[in-house]
Symmetry: C2
Subunit: 270 residues, 2 copies
Amino acid sequence: MRIAVVAPSCTLKPQAAERVRAIIEERGDCELVIHPQCFLSEGHFAGPDQARLDALHEVMADPSIDAVWFARGGYGSNRIAEAALADLPDAARGKTYMGYSDAGFLLAGLHKAGVDVAWGPMPQDVLRSDGEAAVMRALDWLVRRDASALEPALERPAMAFNLTVLSNLLGTSLEPDFTRADLLIEDVSEQLYRIDRTMFHVSASENVRRVRRLRLGRVSDVLENEPPFALDEAGIVEEWCARSGVPYGGRADIGHDAANRVVPFGSENR
Amino acid sequence: MRIAVVAPSCTLKPQAAERVRAIIEERGDCELVIHPQCFLSEGHFAGPDQARLDALHEVMADPSIDAVWFARGGYGSNRIAEAALADLPDAARGKTYMGYSDAGFLLAGLHKAGVDVAWGPMPQDVLRSDGEAAVMRALDWLVRRDASALEPALERPAMAFNLTVLSNLLGTSLEPDFTRADLLIEDVSEQLYRIDRTMFHVSASENVRRVRRLRLGRVSDVLENEPPFALDEAGIVEEWCARSGVPYGGRADIGHDAANRVVPFGSENR
Protein backbone atom coordinates (compact mmCIF):
# COMPACT_ATOMS: atom_id res chain seq x y z
CA MET A 1 0.00 0.00 0.00
CA ARG A 2 1.57 3.28 -1.16
CA ILE A 3 0.04 6.43 0.26
CA ALA A 4 0.79 9.83 -1.29
CA VAL A 5 0.44 13.02 0.72
CA VAL A 6 -0.33 16.30 -1.06
CA ALA A 7 -1.50 19.65 0.35
CA PRO A 8 -4.31 21.24 -1.71
CA SER A 9 -4.94 23.84 1.02
CA CYS A 10 -2.27 25.04 3.50
CA THR A 11 1.36 24.11 4.19
CA LEU A 12 2.13 20.92 6.14
CA LYS A 13 4.37 21.50 9.16
CA PRO A 14 7.71 19.67 8.78
CA GLN A 15 7.49 18.32 12.33
CA ALA A 16 4.13 16.73 11.49
CA ALA A 17 5.67 15.07 8.44
CA GLU A 18 8.52 13.73 10.59
CA ARG A 19 6.22 12.27 13.20
CA VAL A 20 3.95 10.63 10.61
CA ARG A 21 6.99 9.15 8.86
CA ALA A 22 8.07 7.64 12.20
CA ILE A 23 4.60 6.17 12.76
CA ILE A 24 4.64 4.60 9.29
CA GLU A 25 8.08 3.13 9.88
CA GLU A 26 6.92 1.65 13.18
CA ARG A 27 3.78 0.17 11.54
CA GLY A 28 5.67 -1.34 8.61
CA ASP A 29 2.44 -2.09 6.70
CA CYS A 30 2.53 0.74 4.18
CA GLU A 31 4.75 3.20 2.36
CA LEU A 32 4.39 6.99 2.60
CA VAL A 33 5.29 9.40 -0.18
CA ILE A 34 5.09 13.00 1.05
CA HIS A 35 5.07 15.22 -2.01
CA PRO A 36 7.52 18.16 -1.69
CA GLN A 37 4.65 20.48 -2.63
CA CYS A 38 3.34 19.99 0.93
CA PHE A 39 6.09 22.29 2.23
CA LEU A 40 5.64 25.11 -0.29
CA SER A 41 4.20 28.38 0.99
CA GLU A 42 2.66 31.27 -0.92
CA GLY A 43 0.43 33.62 1.03
CA HIS A 44 -2.30 31.56 2.66
CA PHE A 45 -1.55 28.42 0.65
CA ALA A 46 0.88 25.52 0.25
CA GLY A 47 2.23 27.07 -2.94
CA PRO A 48 0.48 28.71 -5.89
CA ASP A 49 -2.74 27.17 -7.25
CA GLN A 50 -0.82 25.68 -10.17
CA ALA A 51 1.74 23.95 -7.91
CA ARG A 52 -1.00 22.49 -5.70
CA LEU A 53 -2.97 21.37 -8.75
CA ASP A 54 0.11 19.85 -10.41
CA ALA A 55 1.01 17.85 -7.30
CA LEU A 56 -2.54 16.58 -6.97
CA HIS A 57 -2.71 15.69 -10.67
CA GLU A 58 0.62 13.93 -10.41
CA VAL A 59 -0.37 11.58 -7.58
CA MET A 60 -3.85 11.03 -9.04
CA ALA A 61 -2.31 9.91 -12.33
CA ASP A 62 0.35 7.69 -10.71
CA PRO A 63 -0.77 4.04 -10.92
CA SER A 64 1.71 3.05 -8.19
CA ILE A 65 -0.19 5.17 -5.63
CA ASP A 66 -3.05 3.40 -3.81
CA ALA A 67 -4.29 6.24 -1.63
CA VAL A 68 -4.12 10.04 -1.63
CA TRP A 69 -4.02 11.54 1.86
CA PHE A 70 -4.62 15.26 2.12
CA ALA A 71 -1.95 16.79 4.38
CA ARG A 72 -4.19 19.19 6.27
CA GLY A 73 -7.08 21.63 5.98
CA GLY A 74 -7.04 25.39 6.34
CA TYR A 75 -8.37 26.87 3.14
CA GLY A 76 -7.80 26.59 -0.59
CA SER A 77 -8.72 23.21 -2.05
CA ASN A 78 -11.81 24.76 -3.68
CA ARG A 79 -9.51 26.94 -5.81
CA ILE A 80 -8.16 23.86 -7.64
CA ALA A 81 -10.93 21.29 -7.21
CA GLU A 82 -12.77 22.00 -10.47
CA ALA A 83 -9.55 21.82 -12.50
CA ALA A 84 -8.46 18.66 -10.72
CA LEU A 85 -11.75 16.99 -11.61
CA ALA A 86 -12.04 18.31 -15.14
CA ASP A 87 -9.65 15.82 -16.62
CA LEU A 88 -9.62 12.82 -14.30
CA PRO A 89 -6.93 10.28 -15.30
CA ASP A 90 -7.94 6.59 -15.30
CA ALA A 91 -5.43 5.90 -12.54
CA ALA A 92 -7.26 8.39 -10.31
CA ARG A 93 -10.23 6.05 -10.02
CA GLY A 94 -8.58 3.08 -8.31
CA LYS A 95 -7.52 5.01 -5.21
CA THR A 96 -8.99 6.12 -1.91
CA TYR A 97 -8.82 9.83 -0.99
CA MET A 98 -8.90 10.87 2.65
CA GLY A 99 -9.12 14.16 4.51
CA TYR A 100 -11.63 16.49 6.17
CA SER A 101 -12.33 20.18 6.85
CA ASP A 102 -11.33 22.25 3.78
CA ALA A 103 -10.50 19.00 1.92
CA GLY A 104 -14.28 18.49 1.84
CA PHE A 105 -14.42 20.49 -1.41
CA LEU A 106 -12.30 17.76 -3.04
CA LEU A 107 -14.08 14.88 -1.27
CA ALA A 108 -17.39 16.22 -2.58
CA GLY A 109 -16.23 16.57 -6.17
CA LEU A 110 -14.36 13.25 -6.21
CA HIS A 111 -17.32 11.41 -4.71
CA LYS A 112 -19.58 13.03 -7.28
CA ALA A 113 -17.18 11.73 -9.96
CA GLY A 114 -17.58 8.20 -8.59
CA VAL A 115 -14.22 7.94 -6.84
CA ASP A 116 -13.80 6.42 -3.34
CA VAL A 117 -13.33 9.09 -0.68
CA ALA A 118 -13.43 9.10 3.10
CA TRP A 119 -13.66 11.78 5.76
CA GLY A 120 -10.88 11.11 8.26
CA PRO A 121 -7.82 12.41 10.16
CA MET A 122 -4.91 13.96 8.23
CA PRO A 123 -1.13 14.02 8.75
CA GLN A 124 -1.11 17.46 10.40
CA ASP A 125 -3.45 16.08 13.09
CA VAL A 126 -0.45 14.26 14.59
CA LEU A 127 0.44 17.58 16.25
CA ARG A 128 -2.80 17.59 18.26
CA SER A 129 -2.87 16.20 21.78
CA ASP A 130 -3.32 12.42 21.26
CA GLY A 131 -2.74 13.10 17.58
CA GLU A 132 -0.89 9.83 17.00
CA ALA A 133 -4.11 7.96 17.71
CA ALA A 134 -5.84 10.03 15.01
CA VAL A 135 -3.14 9.24 12.45
CA MET A 136 -3.18 5.53 13.39
CA ARG A 137 -6.96 5.50 12.94
CA ALA A 138 -6.69 7.04 9.47
CA LEU A 139 -4.02 4.52 8.49
CA ASP A 140 -5.98 1.61 9.98
CA TRP A 141 -8.74 2.51 7.57
CA LEU A 142 -6.57 3.28 4.54
CA VAL A 143 -4.36 0.17 4.89
CA ARG A 144 -6.60 -2.45 6.51
CA ARG A 145 -10.17 -1.15 6.20
CA ASP A 146 -10.33 -1.62 9.96
CA ALA A 147 -13.96 -1.10 10.97
CA SER A 148 -12.95 0.16 14.43
CA ALA A 149 -11.76 3.38 12.73
CA LEU A 150 -15.28 4.16 11.52
CA GLU A 151 -17.76 6.56 13.06
CA PRO A 152 -19.46 4.16 15.49
CA ALA A 153 -23.11 4.68 14.47
CA LEU A 154 -22.31 4.91 10.76
CA GLU A 155 -25.06 3.81 8.38
CA ARG A 156 -24.34 3.75 4.67
CA PRO A 157 -24.59 5.63 2.45
CA ALA A 158 -23.12 8.54 4.39
CA MET A 159 -21.16 11.74 3.82
CA ALA A 160 -19.43 14.07 6.25
CA PHE A 161 -18.62 17.76 5.91
CA ASN A 162 -17.51 20.77 7.81
CA LEU A 163 -20.76 22.76 7.91
CA THR A 164 -19.20 25.97 6.58
CA VAL A 165 -17.48 24.11 3.75
CA LEU A 166 -20.76 22.37 2.91
CA SER A 167 -22.54 25.73 2.76
CA ASN A 168 -19.90 27.08 0.38
CA LEU A 169 -20.06 24.14 -2.03
CA LEU A 170 -23.84 24.13 -2.44
CA GLY A 171 -24.71 25.33 -5.92
CA THR A 172 -21.17 24.80 -7.21
CA SER A 173 -20.06 22.09 -9.62
CA LEU A 174 -18.73 20.13 -6.60
CA GLU A 175 -22.13 19.57 -4.98
CA PRO A 176 -22.88 15.84 -4.70
CA ASP A 177 -26.30 14.16 -4.57
CA PHE A 178 -27.36 13.79 -0.91
CA THR A 179 -30.46 11.70 -1.65
CA ARG A 180 -31.11 9.11 1.10
CA ALA A 181 -27.60 9.53 2.57
CA ASP A 182 -26.77 10.18 6.21
CA LEU A 183 -25.19 13.63 6.31
CA LEU A 184 -22.75 14.23 9.16
CA ILE A 185 -21.65 17.81 9.92
CA GLU A 186 -19.25 19.49 12.35
CA ASP A 187 -17.64 22.91 12.69
CA VAL A 188 -14.88 24.79 14.42
CA SER A 189 -14.01 28.39 15.36
CA GLU A 190 -17.34 29.98 14.49
CA GLN A 191 -19.74 32.08 16.54
CA LEU A 192 -23.09 30.37 17.19
CA TYR A 193 -24.91 33.04 15.16
CA ARG A 194 -22.86 31.90 12.16
CA ILE A 195 -23.77 28.25 12.83
CA ASP A 196 -27.42 29.32 12.88
CA ARG A 197 -27.08 31.32 9.64
CA THR A 198 -25.24 28.51 7.90
CA MET A 199 -27.88 25.98 9.00
CA PHE A 200 -30.54 28.31 7.54
CA HIS A 201 -28.66 28.22 4.24
CA VAL A 202 -27.84 24.51 4.18
CA SER A 203 -31.26 23.33 5.32
CA ALA A 204 -32.96 25.40 2.59
CA SER A 205 -31.31 23.25 -0.09
CA GLU A 206 -33.71 20.86 -1.82
CA ASN A 207 -30.78 18.48 -2.26
CA VAL A 208 -29.92 18.52 1.45
CA ARG A 209 -33.60 18.05 2.27
CA ARG A 210 -33.42 14.66 0.56
CA VAL A 211 -30.95 13.23 3.13
CA ARG A 212 -32.05 10.24 5.20
CA ARG A 213 -30.99 12.10 8.32
CA LEU A 214 -28.58 14.75 9.50
CA ARG A 215 -26.20 13.99 12.37
CA LEU A 216 -24.21 16.58 14.31
CA GLY A 217 -20.54 16.10 15.15
CA ARG A 218 -18.63 18.36 17.47
CA VAL A 219 -18.76 22.14 17.19
CA SER A 220 -15.52 23.12 18.88
CA ASP A 221 -13.60 26.30 19.76
CA VAL A 222 -16.87 28.25 19.55
CA LEU A 223 -16.06 31.97 19.34
CA GLU A 224 -17.72 34.38 21.73
CA ASN A 225 -21.21 35.43 20.72
CA GLU A 226 -22.10 38.92 21.94
CA PRO A 227 -24.68 38.80 23.45
CA PRO A 228 -24.75 35.04 24.24
CA PHE A 229 -26.81 33.12 21.67
CA ALA A 230 -30.02 31.62 23.08
CA LEU A 231 -29.50 28.05 21.78
CA ASP A 232 -26.48 25.72 21.80
CA GLU A 233 -25.28 23.99 18.62
CA ALA A 234 -27.57 20.98 19.06
CA GLY A 235 -30.57 23.25 19.64
CA ILE A 236 -29.71 25.21 16.50
CA VAL A 237 -29.36 22.14 14.29
CA GLU A 238 -32.48 20.49 15.71
CA GLU A 239 -34.49 23.66 15.04
CA TRP A 240 -33.42 23.98 11.40
CA CYS A 241 -34.00 20.24 10.87
CA ALA A 242 -37.52 20.64 12.25
CA ARG A 243 -38.19 23.73 10.12
CA SER A 244 -36.96 22.06 6.93
CA GLY A 245 -38.35 18.57 7.47
CA VAL A 246 -34.90 16.96 7.69
CA PRO A 247 -34.81 14.07 10.22
CA TYR A 248 -32.29 14.88 12.97
CA GLY A 249 -30.20 11.81 13.76
CA GLY A 250 -28.47 12.99 16.95
CA ARG A 251 -24.78 13.46 17.63
CA ALA A 252 -21.90 11.98 15.62
CA ASP A 253 -18.30 11.18 16.60
CA ILE A 254 -16.50 13.53 14.21
CA GLY A 255 -14.85 16.90 14.70
CA HIS A 256 -11.69 19.01 14.53
CA ASP A 257 -9.91 16.92 17.16
CA ALA A 258 -7.89 13.74 17.67
CA ALA A 259 -11.04 11.67 18.30
CA ASN A 260 -12.32 12.39 14.77
CA ARG A 261 -13.55 9.13 13.17
CA VAL A 262 -13.57 7.90 9.58
CA VAL A 263 -16.67 8.31 7.37
CA PRO A 264 -16.29 6.64 3.95
CA PHE A 265 -18.69 8.27 1.51
CA GLY A 266 -21.17 6.22 -0.45
CA SER A 267 -22.76 2.85 -0.03
CA GLU A 268 -20.06 0.23 -0.14
CA ASN A 269 -17.45 -0.87 2.35
CA ARG A 270 -14.34 0.12 0.46
CA MET B 1 -44.39 60.65 5.35
CA ARG B 2 -44.64 58.24 8.29
CA ILE B 3 -41.62 56.00 8.79
CA ALA B 4 -41.86 52.93 11.04
CA VAL B 5 -38.75 51.42 12.61
CA VAL B 6 -38.68 47.70 13.49
CA ALA B 7 -35.74 45.43 14.38
CA PRO B 8 -35.87 42.05 12.61
CA SER B 9 -32.28 41.26 13.73
CA CYS B 10 -30.67 42.71 16.88
CA THR B 11 -31.74 45.21 19.54
CA LEU B 12 -31.63 48.94 18.75
CA LYS B 13 -29.64 50.96 21.27
CA PRO B 14 -31.87 53.48 23.10
CA GLN B 15 -29.32 56.27 22.61
CA ALA B 16 -29.48 55.67 18.83
CA ALA B 17 -33.26 55.98 18.94
CA GLU B 18 -32.98 59.22 20.88
CA ARG B 19 -30.53 60.77 18.46
CA VAL B 20 -32.57 59.76 15.42
CA ARG B 21 -35.71 61.19 17.03
CA ALA B 22 -33.85 64.48 17.53
CA ILE B 23 -32.77 64.52 13.88
CA ILE B 24 -36.34 63.91 12.72
CA GLU B 25 -37.65 66.70 14.92
CA GLU B 26 -35.02 69.07 13.53
CA ARG B 27 -35.88 68.07 9.93
CA GLY B 28 -39.62 68.46 10.41
CA ASP B 29 -40.41 66.74 7.09
CA CYS B 30 -41.45 63.31 8.36
CA GLU B 31 -42.81 61.39 11.32
CA LEU B 32 -40.94 58.53 13.01
CA VAL B 33 -42.68 55.61 14.73
CA ILE B 34 -40.13 53.46 16.58
CA HIS B 35 -41.85 50.18 17.39
CA PRO B 36 -41.28 49.09 21.03
CA GLN B 37 -40.11 45.71 19.70
CA CYS B 38 -36.84 47.41 18.72
CA PHE B 39 -35.80 47.44 22.37
CA LEU B 40 -36.65 43.82 23.21
CA SER B 41 -33.75 41.46 23.82
CA GLU B 42 -33.66 37.66 23.82
CA GLY B 43 -30.29 36.01 23.36
CA HIS B 44 -28.80 37.34 20.15
CA PHE B 45 -32.00 38.95 18.94
CA ALA B 46 -34.35 41.90 19.43
CA GLY B 47 -36.89 39.60 21.06
CA PRO B 48 -38.13 36.13 20.09
CA ASP B 49 -38.75 35.31 16.42
CA GLN B 50 -42.50 35.68 16.96
CA ALA B 51 -42.17 39.17 18.46
CA ARG B 52 -39.91 40.34 15.63
CA LEU B 53 -42.24 38.83 13.05
CA ASP B 54 -45.36 40.32 14.69
CA ALA B 55 -43.83 43.81 14.73
CA LEU B 56 -42.79 43.54 11.10
CA HIS B 57 -46.22 42.23 10.10
CA GLU B 58 -47.90 45.01 12.03
CA VAL B 59 -46.06 47.85 10.28
CA MET B 60 -46.29 46.13 6.89
CA ALA B 61 -50.07 45.88 7.25
CA ASP B 62 -50.53 49.44 8.52
CA PRO B 63 -51.77 51.65 5.65
CA SER B 64 -50.71 54.79 7.55
CA ILE B 65 -47.04 53.78 7.32
CA ASP B 66 -45.19 54.93 4.17
CA ALA B 67 -41.77 53.42 4.82
CA VAL B 68 -40.32 50.64 6.96
CA TRP B 69 -36.82 51.36 8.19
CA PHE B 70 -34.89 48.44 9.65
CA ALA B 71 -33.31 49.52 12.94
CA ARG B 72 -29.96 47.79 12.50
CA GLY B 73 -28.23 44.65 11.30
CA GLY B 74 -26.45 42.02 13.33
CA TYR B 75 -28.08 38.69 12.64
CA GLY B 76 -31.56 37.19 12.56
CA SER B 77 -33.82 38.62 9.85
CA ASN B 78 -33.48 35.37 7.86
CA ARG B 79 -35.22 33.54 10.73
CA ILE B 80 -38.47 35.44 10.08
CA ALA B 81 -38.16 36.50 6.43
CA GLU B 82 -39.98 33.55 4.89
CA ALA B 83 -42.90 33.89 7.31
CA ALA B 84 -43.05 37.66 6.78
CA LEU B 85 -43.31 37.15 3.04
CA ALA B 86 -45.69 34.19 3.10
CA ASP B 87 -48.76 36.27 3.68
CA LEU B 88 -48.00 39.73 2.37
CA PRO B 89 -50.81 42.19 3.22
CA ASP B 90 -51.93 44.57 0.45
CA ALA B 91 -50.74 47.54 2.50
CA ALA B 92 -47.21 46.08 2.50
CA ARG B 93 -46.85 46.84 -1.20
CA GLY B 94 -47.17 50.62 -1.18
CA LYS B 95 -44.16 51.22 1.06
CA THR B 96 -40.38 51.50 0.76
CA TYR B 97 -38.20 49.25 2.93
CA MET B 98 -34.68 50.33 3.81
CA GLY B 99 -31.71 48.71 5.52
CA TYR B 100 -28.50 46.82 4.80
CA SER B 101 -26.21 44.11 6.19
CA ASP B 102 -28.33 41.36 7.79
CA ALA B 103 -31.49 43.15 6.59
CA GLY B 104 -30.42 41.99 3.13
CA PHE B 105 -32.33 38.76 3.70
CA LEU B 106 -35.54 40.81 3.89
CA LEU B 107 -34.56 43.19 1.09
CA ALA B 108 -33.97 40.18 -1.17
CA GLY B 109 -37.27 38.51 -0.38
CA LEU B 110 -39.30 41.74 -0.54
CA HIS B 111 -37.71 42.74 -3.84
CA LYS B 112 -38.46 39.27 -5.20
CA ALA B 113 -42.07 39.80 -4.12
CA GLY B 114 -42.20 43.02 -6.16
CA VAL B 115 -42.00 45.47 -3.26
CA ASP B 116 -39.78 48.61 -3.31
CA VAL B 117 -36.64 48.18 -1.25
CA ALA B 118 -33.38 50.10 -0.91
CA TRP B 119 -29.98 49.37 0.58
CA GLY B 120 -29.14 52.27 2.86
CA PRO B 121 -28.09 53.50 6.32
CA MET B 122 -30.12 52.49 9.38
CA PRO B 123 -31.01 54.22 12.68
CA GLN B 124 -28.25 52.47 14.67
CA ASP B 125 -25.70 54.01 12.26
CA VAL B 126 -26.22 57.35 14.02
CA LEU B 127 -23.80 56.06 16.68
CA ARG B 128 -20.95 55.82 14.17
CA SER B 129 -18.49 58.65 13.77
CA ASP B 130 -20.28 61.07 11.36
CA GLY B 131 -23.34 58.84 11.79
CA GLU B 132 -25.78 61.77 11.59
CA ALA B 133 -24.79 62.27 7.95
CA ALA B 134 -25.63 58.61 7.28
CA VAL B 135 -29.05 58.95 8.89
CA MET B 136 -29.71 62.22 7.02
CA ARG B 137 -28.78 60.51 3.75
CA ALA B 138 -31.21 57.66 4.41
CA LEU B 139 -33.99 60.11 5.26
CA ASP B 140 -33.20 62.30 2.26
CA TRP B 141 -33.90 59.26 0.10
CA LEU B 142 -36.92 57.99 2.04
CA VAL B 143 -38.64 61.38 2.32
CA ARG B 144 -37.52 63.32 -0.77
CA ARG B 145 -36.01 60.75 -3.16
CA ASP B 146 -32.95 63.00 -3.10
CA ALA B 147 -30.60 61.69 -5.81
CA SER B 148 -27.54 62.94 -3.92
CA ALA B 149 -28.11 60.11 -1.44
CA LEU B 150 -27.57 57.49 -4.14
CA GLU B 151 -24.43 55.49 -4.81
CA PRO B 152 -22.73 57.90 -7.25
CA ALA B 153 -22.11 55.49 -10.16
CA LEU B 154 -25.44 53.72 -9.79
CA GLU B 155 -26.91 52.21 -12.93
CA ARG B 156 -30.34 50.62 -12.75
CA PRO B 157 -31.37 47.92 -12.24
CA ALA B 158 -29.10 47.33 -9.27
CA MET B 159 -29.00 45.41 -6.00
CA ALA B 160 -26.62 45.60 -3.07
CA PHE B 161 -25.75 42.95 -0.49
CA ASN B 162 -23.33 42.11 2.21
CA LEU B 163 -21.31 39.38 0.52
CA THR B 164 -21.70 36.88 3.36
CA VAL B 165 -25.45 37.49 3.55
CA LEU B 166 -25.69 37.06 -0.23
CA SER B 167 -23.85 33.73 0.00
CA ASN B 168 -26.25 32.53 2.67
CA LEU B 169 -29.41 33.44 0.75
CA LEU B 170 -28.43 31.72 -2.51
CA GLY B 171 -30.61 28.64 -2.98
CA THR B 172 -33.15 29.79 -0.41
CA SER B 173 -36.66 31.04 -1.14
CA LEU B 174 -35.35 34.60 -0.70
CA GLU B 175 -33.00 34.52 -3.71
CA PRO B 176 -34.00 37.19 -6.25
CA ASP B 177 -33.32 37.16 -10.01
CA PHE B 178 -30.01 38.91 -10.71
CA THR B 179 -30.37 38.88 -14.48
CA ARG B 180 -28.83 41.99 -16.09
CA ALA B 181 -28.65 43.85 -12.74
CA ASP B 182 -25.61 45.59 -11.30
CA LEU B 183 -24.72 43.66 -8.15
CA LEU B 184 -22.93 45.67 -5.45
CA ILE B 185 -21.27 43.81 -2.59
CA GLU B 186 -19.38 44.75 0.57
CA ASP B 187 -18.31 42.98 3.75
CA VAL B 188 -17.06 43.56 7.28
CA SER B 189 -15.16 41.69 10.00
CA GLU B 190 -14.08 38.71 7.90
CA GLN B 191 -10.65 37.24 7.18
CA LEU B 192 -9.60 37.53 3.52
CA TYR B 193 -9.62 33.74 3.14
CA ARG B 194 -13.33 33.86 3.96
CA ILE B 195 -13.90 36.59 1.37
CA ASP B 196 -12.14 34.35 -1.17
CA ARG B 197 -14.19 31.29 -0.18
CA THR B 198 -17.44 33.24 -0.28
CA MET B 199 -16.58 34.68 -3.70
CA PHE B 200 -15.94 31.09 -4.91
CA HIS B 201 -19.44 30.19 -3.72
CA VAL B 202 -21.26 33.28 -4.97
CA SER B 203 -19.56 33.41 -8.37
CA ALA B 204 -20.44 29.75 -9.01
CA SER B 205 -24.15 30.64 -9.03
CA GLU B 206 -25.73 30.58 -12.49
CA ASN B 207 -28.07 33.31 -11.31
CA VAL B 208 -25.21 35.56 -10.14
CA ARG B 209 -23.42 34.89 -13.42
CA ARG B 210 -26.28 36.63 -15.21
CA VAL B 211 -25.54 40.02 -13.59
CA ARG B 212 -24.58 42.90 -15.85
CA ARG B 213 -21.56 43.57 -13.64
CA LEU B 214 -20.38 43.13 -10.10
CA ARG B 215 -19.09 46.15 -8.15
CA LEU B 216 -17.13 45.99 -4.92
CA GLY B 217 -17.90 48.25 -1.99
CA ARG B 218 -15.71 48.52 1.07
CA VAL B 219 -14.40 45.47 2.90
CA SER B 220 -13.71 46.90 6.35
CA ASP B 221 -12.40 45.72 9.72
CA VAL B 222 -10.65 42.83 7.94
CA LEU B 223 -9.63 40.25 10.56
CA GLU B 224 -6.05 39.01 10.67
CA ASN B 225 -5.26 36.31 8.14
CA GLU B 226 -2.51 33.94 9.35
CA PRO B 227 -0.36 33.79 7.25
CA PRO B 228 -1.19 37.02 5.34
CA PHE B 229 -3.39 36.33 2.30
CA ALA B 230 -1.67 36.90 -1.04
CA LEU B 231 -4.38 39.12 -2.62
CA ASP B 232 -6.35 42.07 -1.28
CA GLU B 233 -10.14 42.22 -1.51
CA ALA B 234 -10.16 43.81 -4.95
CA GLY B 235 -7.71 41.20 -6.26
CA ILE B 236 -9.89 38.43 -4.85
CA VAL B 237 -13.10 39.76 -6.39
CA GLU B 238 -11.46 40.48 -9.75
CA GLU B 239 -10.05 36.95 -9.87
CA TRP B 240 -13.37 35.23 -9.19
CA CYS B 241 -15.11 37.55 -11.67
CA ALA B 242 -12.54 36.56 -14.31
CA ARG B 243 -12.89 32.86 -13.49
CA SER B 244 -16.68 32.94 -13.67
CA GLY B 245 -17.12 35.31 -16.59
CA VAL B 246 -18.79 38.00 -14.49
CA PRO B 247 -17.83 41.53 -15.63
CA TYR B 248 -16.08 43.37 -12.78
CA GLY B 249 -17.36 46.91 -12.53
CA GLY B 250 -14.81 48.38 -10.11
CA ARG B 251 -15.34 49.86 -6.66
CA ALA B 252 -18.65 51.06 -5.21
CA ASP B 253 -19.41 53.61 -2.49
CA ILE B 254 -21.14 51.31 0.01
CA GLY B 255 -19.96 49.68 3.22
CA HIS B 256 -20.39 49.26 6.95
CA ASP B 257 -19.63 52.92 7.66
CA ALA B 258 -21.16 56.38 7.78
CA ALA B 259 -20.36 57.02 4.09
CA ASN B 260 -22.61 54.13 3.01
CA ARG B 261 -24.82 55.26 0.11
CA VAL B 262 -28.34 54.32 -0.96
CA VAL B 263 -28.96 51.64 -3.60
CA PRO B 264 -32.64 51.27 -4.51
CA PHE B 265 -33.23 47.81 -5.96
CA GLY B 266 -34.79 47.33 -9.34
CA SER B 267 -35.26 49.47 -12.40
CA GLU B 268 -37.34 52.46 -11.47
CA ASN B 269 -36.62 55.64 -9.57
CA ARG B 270 -38.94 55.11 -6.62
